[in-house]
Amino acid sequence: MSKENSEYLIERYNNVYEVVIGLEVHAQVTSESKLFSASSTKFGAEPNTQVSLVDAAFPGMLPVINEFCVKQAIKTGIGLRAQINKRSVFDRKNYFYADLPQGYQISQFKHPIVGEGEVVLDMPNGQKKVGIERLHLEQDAGKSVHDMDPQNTLVDLNRSGVALMEIVSKPDLRSPDEVSAYIKKLRSIMRYLGTCDGNMQEGSLRADVNVSVRLKDSKELGTRCEIKNVNSIKFMQMAIDYEANRQVDLIEEGKSIDQETRLFDTKKNETRSMRSKEDAHDYRYFPDPDLLPLELTDEFIENLKSDIPELPDDKKKRFIDEFKVSPYEATILVSDIDTAKYFEEVVSKMGKNKDIKLAVNWITGELFAILNNKNLEISKSPISAKNLAKLVNLIKNGTISGKIAKTIFELMIDGDKDPQIIVDEKGLKQESDPKALEALIDKIIDDNREKAIEYKNGKEKLFGFFVGQAMKASGGKANPQLINEILKKKL
């Protein structure tokens, strides 16, 4: 495998292969009740306590669609810059499985609610557009538990009927890194919109990964295999890597690739064929006769458009234009809505005379570090935006040095303490009186005459020594900038 120009390619002897990847992402819609029934969608409930007669497919039960889920799907479509289809149809996808009580899933086959769109990724070597083929609404299935009972499978239908958005990308992705960026971007857009919480641990976001390989510069697509139900980005990347190499190996051996469905074994880090597949599923899609086609008015869609908040791409542009943040930093700040919110709050709380660059550094540096350390989301940050803003201001207006700020930062963590109070309590105000500092420095130079002479004769490194001495003498409180200026003058 090599990375020419940051491309993900697989080399074997004389052949160079590229990998073509398409993703089908299943995102659970954020809503109170399910797509076609009024049961709760809350995660983590006791088994089978959020199951209605409709969910359990009792005789005579009928589906009634949730308006909010429809709106969530449209909003997501708008966020994907996609075509909203005013007329869409719900189809039954027929197959038998223990966690599918109806014996069919209500989905959308020929006429999805959202059509073509695109997502823009910020990659290290520039922007990349990934095409969206479609987005449709469908029911989630229940959960089968195979390992609680040696003889039997246990079924929990709580999840059965929860609304899912299936987002199908065009086969535009070419590397595990692009896949990671794509998932993160999708997730970010949906979290901005509030249409899906993107919580992969809870199963709110899963993907089927379609992988094929072909010789670089070939225009034809190779046979693809589908790796089903991968629920973390890391696993997606590992699965792609394994699968792409597996396919290349087969081709190199002169064998053909069977189009099949595979699973990613997270213990062995391999993909393997799903044994139980009988002669490929024939889903016998047909329009669900218990429902009618969904017809949307222009007004309905326009109202939703005006409801859309500022999305990542626009927010990034504004951060760059308005706040003069660098593109790289802007990408980081908008990558998750909570980060963007935090940043915006810090900026607004800094008042006049704000040093945004400094704020960005503190957020992406120190703050991210402790969040990482403590495994916290920024929405649960132990230091509030308000107080971080104060800290940055204190540095900006010279009250404290950057170094001291780091100390104060550590003290702020426990209980989100106000930095000003810490400064006052601990007397950490930095010494910025030029006269006092001059006096201090004069004394240091006096005490170290030999070194001073050595420095004047060219040993530039000794500057640091004097700075160190000054900081020591001042108990760390000397204003470093002034120290530097005064030393330069005096030496």
């Binding site: 009928l62 027929n94 014996g103």
Partner: protein, 485 residues
Amino acid sequence: MSDITSQSLSSLINNIKNKKLSSEEATKAFIDRSNKSKELNTYVTEDFSNAILKAKKFDEKPNFDLKLPGIPMAVKDLFCTKDIKTTAGSKILENFIPTYESTVTQNIWNEGAILLGKLNCDEFAMGSSNETSFFGNVQNPIDKGLVPGGSSGGSSAAVSGQLTPITIGTDTGGSIRQPASFTGTVGLKPTYGSCSRYGIVAFASSLDQAGPMAQNVQDCALLQEVISSYDTKDSTSIDFNRNEYSKELTKEIKGKKIGIPKEYRVDGMPKEIEDLWQKGIEYAKDCGAEIIDISLPHTSYALPTYYIVAPAEASSNLARYDGVKYGFRAKGENLIDMYEKTRSEGFGAEVQRRIMIGTYVLSSGYYDAYYLKAQKVRKLIKNDFDEAYKKVDAILTPSTPSSAFKIGEKKDDPVSMYLNDIFTVPVNLAGLPAISIPAGHDEKGYPLGLQIIGKAFKEQEVLNIAYAMEDKIGFQNKITDWWIK
């Protein structure tokens, strides 16, 4: 009061309201007759002791403002009735007890009626003779050894035999109208979307409709008033202005234009049926209606269309009967084995046949040629009616191509069985309302019915025409009580 069970529904209601009859007396009378009529095999489940308790309770505190005050009634075993076994005529639901009530039956109980029990029917409503029920054949009260029609065979026999003053059935391809015709009773299939399908065991979702089955048109109109409602639990339920069908019932149909579709004159149609139709045309004229010849060009394609669409939807609707959540479950070595054994033991032959047809016509490679094609032809059939209704208000045809046949006569020939629905099926495909009223007898003395088809949502017009003609026809059902020793 004597002869309680031979009274019409309207008469019973009057007597109860006038306190000449108590609910308990009425209920006991029908229970008594039902107990004597086990040979007809109309009941799958009897709820007689509970019925008497409810009747007594009603009598203690009667509410005469209700439309069915203290009226005992049995219903087709396709309607889910809370805490009462509901089997759909199938082994796979043999012991199924719903914890919920269908909207249509709830409407009935809300108006004061009392459940007598659940009536036999073809399994999952698939059949035209009540010979596919897991619980055995139903006898037509008209004569021993005769089928009562289907799928609402138990319902039609119970009304005809006066074991219940009135009842409800379901109609997907003729399952109310054909048995009504075979038993000399009245059966209405309302406009699609008029009655809620919530809580009715589904057969073919785009065709199923519940409807009243009665001894006369007036009773039928009253029950239609009760059961028809807009239900938000059913996405295909329609919110339209529903008439007070019994209050607005009138024989005044002067000037109504009634269409006679030439394509209903099928090859080999028995002379008796043709004669009955002609008589019907005369009766209609007598009532002041204008007779107009019309054409419904795609009529002959209706039955094949139906036998693609209905099984297709059924194959999917019946997928939930898998032994996992409720109903019969066979032992299996693994999940697939369990499914296969459960369904092949739990479903009868006709149901399995239709599931296979349905699965096939939806399957990969065949969907376009069959299912999609059928839905297109369905559009043509509906267009035929839309065109015709530019010229006429209603359409008059025979209900069935023959009178009731013998039990076992058509059992081995599915196609011959399917041909029973030839006149009724186009109506379901187009979603229109239609009624069958008894209009005469064949040479064996068995009843024959005439069908009046109306415009969508015009049940009132259909009922009015039927009411007027019923008066002119003066039909007398010849029930000899042969089964009561």
